[in-house]
Amino acid sequence: MTKGVKIIGAVVLLLLIGSVIAMLLNFRESDNTYVSILQNNEVIYSFDLSEEEDRTFRIESPQGGWNDVKIEDGRICIVDADCPDKTCVHTGYLRSEGVPIVCLPHKLVIRFSDKESS
């Protein structure tokens, strides 16, 4: 094992351990109910999920394209979109602070927010 391998191996290992710790801290289920929907980094919707009635609504992107957002039993998810990969749909319900629902083609982010900003 050469010096280069040791150094690079150590850096990779540290990154990996750091990431595992960050993930464990970040990916816990959140009991927060305040959610913001951002498009092009501007908040377009902001609400308290526990007070929202069940519904499905469509968010149009200014660049073209849409995402159908569903609110059900105090949970939120994207049920359909016209993007090619549908990663946002497969992400499922919003669960933790660390994993926002992201639709990169439509620059849409759904994430938990602080109570004050709602």
Binding site: M1, T2, N40, P84, T87
Partner: protein, 168 residues
């Protein structure tokens, strides 16, 4: 560029493209943006150790552009492009200090850099740091995927390199 070399590079590009398209049909176990196995990078790692930097860049660029059109996701090109550029630069830099037995490590570094490039573009595109919270899971998935593709490439190279490289 000699016709023989051009043919070999084209063949590798075609191979990478086929692997890429086959992988598109795999169901994604972890449906988060940027998380995938990236089997086509077996060819990238192989080429990094087998051809000159310029030739590797040609293979990867051709595969990315063709892959974007074949896969029907052209907007993903900027993410994969930035990721691949960073990944290639890093792998070519550390190629000299990584002996052949540790090619898998170089592939892990490449995968992490690839994900770093993607996240940087995603931050610029979305205009928000919200996507950075994906970074830890991308690093973890990158380490696993990178190690896997790296081991595959290492096994390939072991059978392919001339005798003097018996230290593989």
């Amino acid at each position: 560029m000699k016709a023989g070399k051009l043919t070999r590079l084209a063949l590798l590009t075609a191979l990478a493209l086929i692997i890429f398209i086959v992988e598109l049909h795999f169901p994604n176990l972890i449906p988060l943006p940027g998380v995938k196995l990236g089997l086509a990078n077996i060819i990238t790692v192989y080429a990094v150790y087998k051809y000159s930097p310029k030739e590797v860049a040609l293979i990867v660029a051709a595969r990315l552009i063709l892959g974007a059109f074949f896969g029907g996701n052209v907007s993903a090109l900027m993410y994969s492009g930035a990721g691949a550029a960073l990944c290639l630069a890093g792998m070519l830099l550390i190629k000299k200090v990584i002996p052949y037995r540790y090619i898998w490590l170089s592939s892990v570094v490449g995968a992490i850099l690839h994900n770093t490039g993607q996240i940087i573009v995603a931050v610029l595109v979305v205009g928000s740091f919200a996507v950075v919270s994906y970074y830890p899971i991308l690093i973890i998935s990158g380490c696993i995927a990178g190690a896997f593709t790296g081991i595959c490439a290492q096994l390939l190279l072991k059978r392919d390199l001339p005798e003097k490289r018996s230290d593989v």
